[in-house]
Symmetry: C2
Subunit: 244 residues, 2 copies
């Protein structure tokens, strides 16, 4: 059960990888800081790491020496405050940087958690920065991604400050949908959707119970359907109208 079979991830994120074509993946190193994942899948070649679902990839308040990119699976960057209150700052999809925020910081104020089993590549922070400064192309690409993330954070502030539960949830679904659509992951009007209602609750500042009620309403109005780990979009225009 432990290291008996080697986990060989499909790396579905490569086709939408923000670093694609920049030749940075060769930089990836195993800097050996992470604990080996318990009870399963062994670490493998040059800097590609894996983590099981629901486990922490990087934890709050640890020093930052690495930069990472998500190759496969979903993750979330989260911030915990006292006793159980926890906010998801953003969902991270395959091909996205796990640690944009860490690029120019030395301390981590948030943690990164795997939602599904994930595989990711780890880079040495200073090596990565050097590569970034050496090439205008790379720099621009990284900064564009950083800005986009920043922009999404600002949108989230507006959502949490100004919009109702229904609006927030509709927008979250549409946001994820759009991102996956961009990287060609929509098939049959459906996407893989590993989020539990609790994840949506933690991201929208609502309770899981109420999220469930809103989703049921969406289902009754034939806007979406969620079965197993698949989200199917039944009426995207109507959903957009719900998103205000």
């Amino acid at each position: 059960m432990n290291n008996s079979k080697t986990y060989s991830p499909p790396r579905s994120g490569c086709d939408s990888c923000i670093l694609d074509g920049l030749g940075l993946c060769n930089l990836a190193i195993d800097c050996g800081r992470e604990r080996p994942p318990k009870g399963g899948r062994a670490n493998i070649t040059q800097g590609e790491k894996t983590q099981n679902a629901k486990r922490t990839i990087f934890s709050q308040n640890e020093p930052v020496e690495t930069v990472a990119i998500l190759c496969d699976g979903w993750a979330a960057s989260t911030l915990r405050i006292s006793k159980g209150r926890k906010q998801i700052l953003s969902f991270l999809l395959p091909g996205e940087m796990l640690t944009f925020r860490a690029l120019f910081e030395s301390g981590r104020y948030h943690s990164t958690e795997a939602i599904t089993p994930v595989s990711y590549r780890v880079f040495d922070q200073s090596q990565f920065r050097n590569a970034m400064f050496a090439s205008q192309n790379i720099f621009d690409r990284i900064m564009a991604g950083y800005s986009e993330e920043r922009c999404r954070a600002d949108q989230m502030i507006v959502d949490l400050g100004q919009r109702s539960a229904t609006e927030r949830i509709a927008r979250l679904l549409l946001d994820i949908w759009t991102r996956l659509e961009k990287s060609g992951k929509v098939k049959d009007n459906s996407i893989a959707f590993p989020l539990r209602q609790t994840h949506i609750a933690d991201a929208t500042g609502l309770t899981n119970v109420y999220v469930g009620k809103v989703l049921t309403a969406f289902r009754n109005e034939r806007l979406i359907s969620i079965t197993g780990r698949t989200l199917t979009m039944l009426d995207i225009d109507k959903l957009r109208r719900q998103a205000a």
Copy 2:
């Protein structure tokens, strides 16, 4: 009333200016894009501009060609959504960049509004970026400021998503207090405080009426007092406890 008397701002932000000592102020240019402020104070020398209270400095959805720093007065960066709903993303105090977000972006998705009369310096975006890349020192200083702003945005997400009205307001007051304290602007346990209850409401996602009720509660508990445009801290520890 118009250009009859020249407005000569005290530029209280210089002592806490994030660009202080970097020699960038000489870069400041008047790129002549802003309308001259109506009904008052004339624009003056090289790149130093002014705007009246409650007016827009940069507006949403306009192209970005400049970078600016706030020399004097308070401003807010805001994002409007349909019909009157508006969210303040952050308050900008003297010495802070007005347009960090614009450094690597070409379009503006938010606007910047003067709360008090303000004076600010305008830089040409590409010139500013060149100066930034020419000096590691400047680059680091800018990116540190950018990161700090980003960090505050994430905190805001947590506040809006997880905390009660009382907690949000207490934290906002403490945040502003701490920032002004850092630049030595606390005198007699008091600070200049030009915010109206509506500003606090727009920043915390609450209504002005309810903000008023919470502030009254704070006053009754002798935590703070707000008279005129001055905020006096009566019991900061107790206020911190309210901030959770």
